[in-house]
Amino acid sequence: MSESTLLLDHGSGGMASNRLIGDLFFKHFGNPILNEMNDAALLDITGPITMSTDSYTVDPIFFPGGNIGTLAVHGTVNDVAMLGAKPRYLSCGFIIEEGLKMSTLEKIVIEMAQAAKEADVLIVTGDTKVVPRGCVDKIFINTTGVGELILPEATSGAHAKPGDAVLVSGTMGDHGLTVLSNREGLNFATDVQSDSAPLNHIIEALINEIGDIHVLRDPTRGGLATTLNEIAGQSKVTIKLIENQVPVRESVRNGCSFLGLDPFYLANEGKLICILPQEKAEAALTLMRTMKYGEEAVQVGTVLDPENSPGKAGQVVLETPLGGHRLLNMLEGEQLPRIC
């Protein structure tokens, strides 16, 4: 791009907009569907589809392990895939504050294009608005994704059954603590990094090679604890989580301890929860561990019949290393760092 700063002109629909679209978005996102330049994208898709939309407003927009753009691709790709689908297409809407450096936007767009390529999805339609300074914080991105269901029946949070195993694809809390520590300029956790990553390839492999997957979820906002509570509620079961089997990086644990936060409630952007019959657990773990983004997969718990468990239907019970049990509730509001 020859221009160095985003101006309101770039969202006007005129020449400046055209230059932005041509020199930046088409250059990096270009594909036969997008290049048609029609009012809508004509998609080649069959059968039941899954669809998801999300808006990304993360602060800071760049953080170790990713940026707002890669997050927008990974987040929506993962949401679309979690029903047991192969994500195919993304739309992408940008709301940009005037004054943003063009080089900043270009960096975001280039990395989004790489993220889309890795996830094997096409960005087929989009929109750009430039708004007066102060109306948004630098840049907001909305992505909508569609995917083709590759399971005969979609997975659902309502399908967990007593006797199932609860697996996670890796460590918990990395993204949440990274964003928080970078937002506040805290220097205690210099080696933490977001786990932002596409999980659709792992999901496809699990479906094709293991099968009988009951639940797939990505524990984003609210983290592992909140997501498991949602699943327990939807399926009317108790989920028992074994505390010392849940993988948490030492740096994340220390950072959380410093701030009075619980890693089980921190967001993840490159991890999945997979619930399936216990007899399939070992094979699923072995498979995940051979794949990028699944190397640290482990079983963290089991699904119990509420009649025969330390909790009630809809509850998540945590077994502590001492062998005691306590509730792992849904969080009320956001986690706030404590005074002492």
């Binding site: 909790g311 306590r326 509730l327 509001g333």
Partner: protein, 363 residues
Amino acid sequence: MNVSDSFKDPELCKKLLEQLHNELDAPLRFMEVCGTHTVAIFQSGLRQLLPKEIVHLSGPGCPVCVTHESEVAAFLDLAEKDDVIIATFGDLMRVPGPKGRNLKLAKAEGARIEIVYSPLDALKLAQNNPNDTVVFLGVGFETTAPTIAASIMMAKQQNIANFKVLSFHKLVPPALKVLLDDPECAVDAFLLPGHVSTILGMEPYHFVAERYNTPGVITGFDPVDILESLLIMVEQRKKGKASIVNQYKRAVSDSGNARAREIMFSVFDVAEAQWRGVGTIPDSGLVFNDEYAEFDALKALNITLTEVPQTPGCKCGEVLKGKMQPNDCPLFAKACTPAKPVGPCMVSTEGSCAAYFKYQVTA
């Protein structure tokens, strides 16, 4: 296993628990003065494993919980002032004030409130906003007061005149005295706060043992710390002689942190303070001394504390004095929940009501 993990070691805990079961010869009512201990006991699953004869009572050691209603009202008044930016630790955002209002709501309605992680961040905020007055909400015990005092000293050195602090600090030992003087106080021993003691050391607690013949153990927040402390309490009772023991030597020096105390008392004088649910306690608060009076938000912004009627039915005071268990409060989990807290004990991450609500297991 590193040093920190050894204090969580399940095998060691098992042995200590067995020992505790064997040694315990009578019911033991101990008070965890500090909210972090309450949470640690629940979080580790220890509560369920302790002998049933051990009753643990929550104490007045959660800084948010003991912040008086009139002080919360002052935060909210401050939020309405033009040209003021409030800087605060996150805990205070959801504390209910008069008519159920809180800082979170005030922020949503336009008040300028920033959550900070250190008073030094608030100082930076003042430097970056020279046309506004940045007021840091100085809530906390001896643990946080020295850092806040250091930020005030720095503001004076650097002539940052738009930085102010609302000092509602509380001091822990005078509150223990109030509890011990209360004839209804049925505490057999105190689990003394680890964080506060890093500053205080052992000396300020000696009166607990000497004058009231009540044991006190300064301890950490891991299960091994807590179990060892309980064993010390049981042993002392058997011998019939109380003393103060520093079990947390890996973090707390017997003499505390003299430099931190020096900084704290360079800026603040000791004065009486109002404690929510407990009342006015002599020599239990910190007010600005003359040398640093220009940084006192109360004076600079002409804030007066007004009488606020106590919330009907709220038993936070009884809970903080160890006279009532959180789930015996008639409002607990009914009118008062983390989603709609009536009192701050249900708000703070270290509040005993919030801990009981959050971690309770029915079976």
